[in-house]
């Protein structure tokens, strides 16, 4: 009877105005890693919240080891051995690792917290996970990957039998992802069942034995990972075929647009040189923390480099702040859309025109009509899925938010567009659309710098690839000679680069 540790049948969840889940089902076998995939807005997160007791489904039943359960709240789910680890760890940065692990279920004797016991216990859990930090470390000093490890340790400390990982690799570098894979394998061996949400196919192939796909709040199907092809899976997720994920156009390269020479910033990067031509897409890759973002931030005036020169169209330029860069025609589309790219509570239109408002304001007063027309035009150009230009940016999915960020860059004449992780947290359908926009921009003669940790993206879109490691440029590859292995080799190079980070 209990072939499954967890089984959900006919789950329907209604939010005011929307059916977030429509009669979906799900089965989890003991000790399996089960991937849950679908585009953003497909209902995955809501589904997870139903399992963890955060949301209560209007219809449907849930069985745990064959027993019907009815969670009143997250506490019930926790008590039943279900724990969730989220993409952005929700921790207390100023407390220690041990305190974070035992938050809510501290080891208590005579109403006093038993620090020693707690630290020992926490270290035991961390040792099981092969963690390279101590239980007394402050949470805020850890990397995202390490924080995730703490979250997993926390789940284990509650003796969770089912662990849900919500996009755990989204913020991780490649080597960190590898570590997570081993960790998941280990958990599996210990008999923990895992539900794994990810946009990365890599994750799924590496870890999961079965995959369930949701689309538009509905259950599409459950497949054996070994039996379904990539194309079929994408089709299941998107509902249509994506013929060409990377529509890299053949572009005749123009003159040199940007040249960076020996750019250095103490503690971040050293002697970085590269150049890019009109119509070219330059991939800038390396592990997270290699200094990629820092380099382009220095180019765009967000930080100031200690030395080095930047040339635009052959002329040396001095950029002190982002507005200087924009005036010259260089724009950075930052990695963190919500904190740096958009004003989430503002309407889409105002977001789009923010960098250029003074252009249409002849007398210093805003020309709202022109702004509205321009916003409409640009948002339609990048094919944003929006109803009107007044809806807040927060109402869009990640992929569409990214399109709004791109539209912002288009509101003025730009020469160099720098995109920092433009498809982070974006589903596969929207990804293809963003690549298409990128290709179109290149065709129009923009020089594009693409920063990305996603290997297929870099290999698929870039004409040339600059690889960084520890604040140093370790190599440059042409489109033909580039391969996953070559890039990794350069990105993980052990020699060199130490000085810059010291």
């Amino acid at each position: 009877m209990s072939e499954y540790v967890l089984e959900l049948k006919g789950i329907t969840k209604i939010f005011p105005g929307v059916k977030a889940l429509n009669n979906v089902q799900f089965q989890l076998k003991p000790g399996e890693v089960h991937a849950l995939m679908g585009e953003n807005g497909a209902g995955k997160s809501t589904f997870i919240k139903v399992i963890t007791g955060v949301h209560k489904a209007e219809e449907g039943e849930m069985f745990l080891n064959g027993q019907k359960v009815d969670f009143k709240g997250p506490k019930d789910a926790q008590a039943a051995g279900i724990a969730a680890v989220y993409q952005h760890p929700t921790s207390y940065p100023h407390l220690t690792v041990a305190e974070n692990i035992f938050m809510g279920h501290e080891i208590i004797k005579h109403k006093m917290i038993q620090w020693k016991a707690m630290n020992t216990e926490a270290n035991k859990l961390l040792a099981q996970l092969d963690a390279d930090f101590d239980a007394t470390a402050e949470m805020g000093t850890l990397s995202v990957a390490q924080q995730q490890m703490v979250e997993i340790a926390k789940a284990m400390s509650t003796n969770a039998k089912i662990i849900i990982l919500d996009e755990p690799t989204a913020a991780l570098t490649r080597s960190e992802s590898e570590k997570l894979y081993t960790l998941v394998d280990k958990l599996k061996e210990e008999g923990v069942s895992i539900i794994f949400i990810s946009h990365r196919f890599e994750d799924m192939y590496r870890l999961a034995s079965r995959v369930t796909v949701f689309r538009d709040s509905q259950y599409i199907g459950t497949y054996d990972v070994n039996e379904i092809t990539n194309a079929d899976l994408i089709k299941a997720m998107v509902g249509r075929e994506i013929k060409d994920l990377f529509p890299k156009p053949e572009v005749k390269l123009g003159q040199e647009m940007l040249r960076v020479e020996n750019l250095s910033r103490l503690g971040y990067f050293k002697d970085i040189s590269f150049h890019i031509k009109a119509g070219e897409i330059l991939g800038l890759t390396g592990l997270v923390g290699a200094g990629r973002t820092e380099v382009v931030e220095a180019v765009c005036g967000i930080t100031r480099p200690d030395s080095g020169k930047v040339y635009l169209e052959g002329k040396e330029i001095h950029i002190k702040q982002p507005s200087d860069a924009m005036e010259k025609g260089i724009i950075l589309l930052p990695e963190d859309r919500q904190k740096e790219g958009l004003i989430m509570s503002w309407g889409l239109g105002r977001n789009v025109t923010l960098p250029t408002i003074s252009k249409y304001a002849k007398t210093g007063l805003n020309d709202e009509k022109t702004e509205r027309d321009l916003a409409k035009k640009l948002l339609e150009e990048v094919d944003t899925k929006a109803v009107d230009i007044f809806q807040p940016a927060s109402s869009l999915s990640g992929g569409n938010q990214q399109k709004v960020v791109v539209a912002k860059a288009l509101s003025q004449e730009m020469k160099v567009v720098i995109m920092d992780e433009p498809t982070k947290g974006v589903d596969v359908g929207a990804k293809a659309e963003i690549y298409a926009i990128m290709g179109d921009l290149a065709k129009k003669g923009y020089a594009i710098i693409l920063i990305s940790s996603e290997m297929p993206e870099i290999l698929g879109m870039a004409d040339r690839i600059v690889v960084m490691c520890n604040g140093r440029k370790t190599g440059e590859l042409g489109r033909e000679e580039a391969s996953q292995e070559r890039i990794l080799e350069l990105a993980m190079e052990k020699s060199g680069g130490k000085e810059a980070s010291e």
């Binding site: 005011p16 967000i302 702040q321 982002p322 507005s323 860069a325 924009m326 005036e327 950075l332 930052p334 904190k339 740096e340 790219g341 958009l342 004003i343 989430m344 509570s345 503002w346 239109g349 105002r350 923010l354 960098p355 408002i357 003074s358 304001a361 210093g364 007063l365 805003n366 509205r372 027309d373 916003a375 409409k376 948002l379 339609e380 150009e381 990048v382 094919d383 944003t384 899925k385 929006a386 109803v387 009107d388 230009i389 007044f390 912002k408 659309e433 298409a436 926009i437 179109d440």
Partner: protein, 333 residues
């Protein structure tokens, strides 16, 4: 471009009349009317001409609300303005007693205020990590300290030449000059905040400073301008204060910053930044002015008036919250 789906995005705004009626400003106008009816019933002396006669004393503070609104929209606060008013007033008195021409006295007042504001702005834009509350708390103490040192042991100064100040305290018919100036400045500040690119950028900074910075907004320049203008207006406030008090002492301008903040917050300008407009602040300011005049006429104690204003303020802050909760409750039903 990529947009092959031909999806059309609406860019026609909905009519603003409906929004206006249900806005906080709409509610404020109702409160304003209610307060006036209440005052008229409470005090038999309360009418337009008595209001206009007694208003100027309170109007000087309304000046402060205008730039304070900008600072609040930035998501920041300036609690040094009361001290700037004190210092400006003190220096004005000294210069006036040196028999300087009135224009010089006025310029001195404005200049002292501007300089103080620029000091705030300079510190805050050079050391961007420092919280404005703490920096302006420090300058509050410093500016008042300088004023007290200047005032010397007596702790007060009276002006010998009152001609100029009597003149600016004058009226056109029944309407005092200061009311004209308040209205004019309010309109100017409202247009700049609500309609200009500068204003849009102020909202951008107040809502998401990083995004504003990445989008090419001169964050520090704008902050510098606003804090400096806050100082200039404090100087203006000092000058009009002198036109009714004819002297300064160590308590001049005490608590003005809080009154200005109270007016703005009552007017729907969020202290967390990015929300509110000058119109709300101005209506709220006049509600408070009318209440003070009306209650003052019946010799209600100044402290009791403060109490009432305090209660109003809490109600104003809590009301949108309560409305939101009721709305949610109705929706989920």
């Amino acid at each position: 471009m990529a947009g092959k789906s031909g999806r059309s995005i609406n860019n026609v705004p909905e009519s603003s009349i409906k929004r206006m009626i249900f806005s906080w400003e709409g509610i404020l106008i109702l409160i304003f009317i209610a307060v006036n009816i209440f005052c008229a019933m409470f005090s038999e002396f309360y009418n337009v001409s008595s209001l206009l006669r007694q208003m100027p004393v309170y109007l000087a503070e309304v000046f402060l609300m205008l730039p304070m609104a900008y600072i609040l929209v930035l998501g920041e606060i300036d609690i040094s303005v009361g001290s700037i008013v004190c210092l400006s007033a003190t220096v004005c008195c000294i210069v006036c007693n040196m028999n300087a021409p009135f224009i010089v006295v006025v310029l001195t007042g404005l200049l002292v205020g501007t300089a103080c504001g620029a000091v705030n702005g300079f510190i805050l834009t050079k050391f961007t990590e420092l919280p404005p509350m703490i920096v302006t708390l420090a300058t509050q103490i410093i500016f008042r300290g300088i004023a007290e040192i200047t005032l010397g042991s007596g702790g007060s100064i009276t002006m010998s030449n009152l001609d100029g100040f009597n003149a600016i305290g004058g009226k056109v018919g029944q309407v005092p000059y200061i009311l004209f100036l308040v209205v004019i400045l309010a309109v100017v500040f409202a247009i700049i905040l609500g309609k200009s690119t500068f204003g849009r950028r102020v909202y951008a900074i107040g809502t998401n400073r990083l995004t504003a910075y990445y989008s090419g907004v001169h964050v520090q320049k704008i902050r510098m301008i606003i804090y400096t203008v806050m100082g200039t207006v404090s100087g203006l406030c000092a000058i009009f204060l002198l036109s009714s008090s004819f002297g300064a002492n160590t308590t001049t301008g005490n608590g003005f910053e809080m009154d200005a903040i109270a007016m703005a917050v009552f007017g729907g300008i969020s202290s967390t930044g990015g929300k509110g407009n000058i119109a709300g602040g101005v209506i709220a300011a006049f509600i408070i002015v009318c209440l003070r005049v009306g209650l003052g006429q019946q010799n209600v104690h100044a402290q009791v008036i403060l109490l009432i204003i305090g209660v109003l303020l809490i109600a104003a802050v809590a009301l949108p919250n309560i409305i939101g909760q009721v709305r949610r409750a109705v929706k989920t039903k």
